[in-house]
């Protein structure tokens, strides 16, 4: 077991006694927003909160850990055990055994690997997050639903306009089976006066090729976090071409700012964690999870690369400059 997992288990044991109180007093501002008004089942299912929750991490990315800590904080150590796959599918069996040993009856999967591992056991309902290609891997079911990965697109476009008021046309590269998402993005763009030109590609090279083709017609590019169509080499080349052709590139991982992206949009861990807990609370006794397949995020964390902004002659708004997420 990963050391982090052991620490988390100790905490679970230590705070088990106050878990009910905490649970009853929990006030989650996001939860209220996240739960649709037309979800009576969710309110009825609040009793299920007393169940044992296992949080499985794909690996110990800071955001993942931050997300994992929220249920622990809110539900108490006794009710929550955290398990780490350490990025290795081979750890799945062992981690699942731990989950079984912990008596968990609810599962939270953070990351795609964790979601895929969680999907392999059918006995517990699972709420997954930080997962993009959930359809690709068949993660959705009555007992398995998730939290959106991407922050709200209207806020993304607003940020984009703040950075460059002349932004009118952007490109979008995505893998297959993301038609709904693409439609949502185009719709959000239309609302903000930004034309979104989307391309569905099948490989990293095709992504690069499509970007080259559309490069002359777009001012910015959104690189969706589709691991299927992205490779380190192509990412580098996309960034390089973007810098060369003064194309603003938006990504969904702050790590890519180092490669030359202008802005990174991510969800806030608290927001994600809140949504997770809400979904956990709404799990019904039969394990079904009410509500949409994916609960969208409400908040956004923005980080801007000042060097790239300067290269593109963009002035970073004060709000973004002061933002702790801005770089």
């Amino acid at each position: 077991m990963h050391p982090r997992s052991g620490k988390l288990l100790c905490r679970v044991t230590g705070i088990a006694a106050v878990s009910v109180l905490l649970t009853g007093c929990l006030i989650n501002p996001f939860a209220q927003d996240a739960q649709p008004a037309a979800e009576p089942v969710a309110k009825a299912a609040k009793t299920a909160i007393t169940r044992q929750v296992a949080v499985v991490l794909s690996n110990e990315l800071p955001d993942f850990v931050a997300i994992a800590n929220e249920p622990e904080n809110r539900l108490g150590n006794e009710k929550v055990t955290v398990h780490n796959l350490d990025g290795k599918p081979g750890n799945a069996e062992h981690v699942l055994a731990e989950v079984d040993a912990a008596g968990a009856d609810q599962l939270v999967a953070v990351g795609l690997l964790a979601a895929k591992v969680g999907r392999e056991q059918q006995s517990r309902p699972m709420v997954f997050c930080q997962t993009y290609n959930y359809k690709q891997y068949g993660l959705l079911s009555e007992t398995s639903k998730g939290i959106g990965l991407l922050p709200p697109f209207d806020k993304q476009f607003d940020t984009g306009h703040e950075l460059d008021s002349k932004l009118k046309r952007i490109g979008l590269l995505s893998g297959s089976n993301q038609e709904d998402l693409l439609a949502e993005i185009r719709l959000a763009g239309d609302d903000k006066g930004i034309e979104v030109i989307s391309r569905v590609v099948n490989s990293d090279k095709e992504a690069l090729l499509e970007f080259k083709r559309m490069m002359a017609n777009i001012q910015g590019l959104i690189i969706l976090p589709d691991n299927r169509i992205l490779s380190p080499g192509v990412l580098r080349e996309l960034m390089s071409l973007g810098a060369k052709h003064r194309t603003q590139i938006a990504v969904y991982a702050p790590g890519l700012l180092n490669l030359g992206a202008l802005v990174s949009f991510t969800g806030r861990p608290t927001d994600i964690a809140g949504a997770v807990i809400t979904r956990l609370e709404n799990i019904q006794t039969d394990g079904r999870i009410p509500g949409p397949d994916l609960v969208p995020l409400k908040d956004i964390s923005v980080q801007v690369n000042p060097a790239v902004a300067d290269h593109l002659s963009l002035i970073i708004p004060a709000r973004l400059a002061r933002s702790p997420g801005s770089r």
């Binding site: 690996n59 990315l61 990025g87 490989s203 090279k205 090729l209 691991n227 790590g255 890519l256």
Partner: protein
Amino acid sequence: MRRTDTTSDVAARIKRGSQYGRWSSVPGLASRLKQGIPDTRVVYRVLRSATQAVQNFFRRRSLLGEMLLLQLLFAIVAGSLAFGALWLSSSRAAADNMRNWGEQWLSTLDEISMPLYVAQDDERHLQVEEYVQKFPEIAFVRFYSDSGELVFEDYQQEGIAGLAPLTVATLQGLINAPRDDQRYLLDTVEQDMPLMRIGKPIWTEALLMDGLLGLDLSDDSAVETTLIGFVELGLNSSAYGEELARTIRSGTLWGTLLLVLLTVASWLVYRRALLPLSHLQAPLKKLAKGHTDFTVETAGHTEIVAIADALNTTVTALNERDKKLWHLANHDSLTGLVNRHRFAEILNNELARLEDTDNTSALLFIDLDQFKYVNDTVGHAAGDRLLQDVAERLTNGVRQSDTVSRFGGDEFVVLLSDVNEKQVKDICEDLIRNASEHHFIENEESFTVRCSIGITMIWGNEFTPADLLSQADMACHHAKSLGRNRYDFYKASSRSMAGMASEVGLSRQIQQALQDDTFVLHFQPIVDINTRQATHYEVLLRMRGTNNKLILPDAFLPAAIRFGLMIDVDRWVIRNALEQIAEMRAEHPDIGFTLNVSGNMFETPDFVDFVQKSLKETGVPMEAIVLEITEQVAVRTIGNSGRRITKLAKLGCKFALDDFGAGYSSYSYLKTLPVDYIKIDGSFIRNIVSDIVDQKIVGSIIEIAKATGKQTIAEHVVDYETFALLSELGVDFAQGHFLGKPGKVPSSEEIPTSIADAKKKRRRKVSQTA
């Protein structure tokens, strides 16, 4: 046919070349070749002629031409090397470029091929085809699936569709190629064109599931690689190669043009730079032809200035040397006056000048009256000083425009330009007066050396210089005959002048005889009076006259002496006599010969050398020769004569004192002169039988000769009585018609032993004559 063409070509070349020197050295070659008869000799001769033509070209090459030629050769070599290197490097660069382009095209096809693997529709195909069509070098493209099946193929050029697809094994080989070097040169094939096939696998990479959120570019394991298929590209480099060849051809053409322009420019530059050197060419040519009447400008480049200075110095030195040589050749070394040769030139020029004018000039022949006396009295050195003194006074006595020349001995000639008879008379009177008033002092003795002057006036070019000199000489002799210390004009009608004219005629005959080698030598025996055998023969000279009769020397030798021909005559005699003597001695090796030598010849400085050289050339021993010199000659130059006689005597030569008793005979001379024989003058022998005085004189001479160890020879022995008397008197040798007349070949009469025999002999001769 080929052979005939070749020979015709060669023949044509020879025909063309025959207009230019060396080719013409192959006469008939062209026609022979045209007839189709080439052989190795023809080829050899053609090659030799060509080689000689090239050699001639290089032999006559100029510095400028050679510099340009070398530059041109260097440029051609350098240009060829450069073009060769350019061709090689360009070819390699082209191949590299083609490969690089191929790799680039492969990468692009790798990118754009992805849709092809997702959906096989026309749009996808079109994308690939559009891309491939942009590049004519791409002959075809093929895409394979990951299992090796042909997915798509597009052929841009004809004739290659039949090219077999790659096998699975080959494709597997591409997979196994190192990942960092996926380029893979498959092969090159000749499919109607040079074709290079390259291929590579098509991979895609994808981040692992959560790779993007926690992107770590240094972690290769975070990437998942998938083989999609393969792409094969056929490249045809012929179009590029042709373009490259066109470029290089064009470059070569421009390079050649540039080379020609550079050569022309270099020629101009070099010619300008070498212009000062070229300017030296004309003076050098002049110098080579012997002309030294120029100077070279000494300005410009340092090297040229040095050459010009050297040239000028050389020219100056040559001029000075020529001037000195000219002076030596044209002036008398003793007096510094112009010599006979130069005077003849001046006289010729004067005649030419007078031809175009009405002016008259005069030629003076001056002979010193007392010079011989001074010479004999106080010696030759004093005589030389006297001559120098006279020369100076003559020069001062005439005008600057006149010419004074020493003609030889004590004879001077003067050319007075543009004078009439009165002026000539005035000048001559001044010269005679000056001579009379001037006293030459030597050894505290005072001499008054007067002169006689012969004058001839010159009108136009009616007479030759020789005629004029003869006329002046004759006038001089006439003046002397009239009493010396006076002048006289030449008059063609004068009787005495007629005699002079006769001598002049003889002198011309002598010159002609010398020139035509028509003198004749006769030999007269000299008989030992005791043995009555001819032991020697005297060589006697005869000249063939205009009527083919032989002229005796007494008739022409005075003229020869007067006109300065005696030395030449003597030389002729010595040279020809020795040649004949050499032949005669082959049969009669014991016979000796006597040769007459004139005083003029004997006094020449190279007399001894000449005799030695002639003897050596003919092989005649010195002992076989007796040289006869006259008493006057021996006495006049007693000092030098003695030395010369002694020198030749040491070498074995003997001397005879000819005509002893006819001149200033002094018995003391017999004591001092180192001669072997005394030839008693014929005037004492002719009447010796009847004249008691002659008997006494001859007897005395014989006695004194015997006393001084000399032998005597009696001339003009005409009868037995004389011969017998001379025998009684003790003469050693006798010579005369009684003993043998001169003849072309040596012969001797039979000498009678008594008067009776002599009479018999005389009667026999008379009857034979009758």
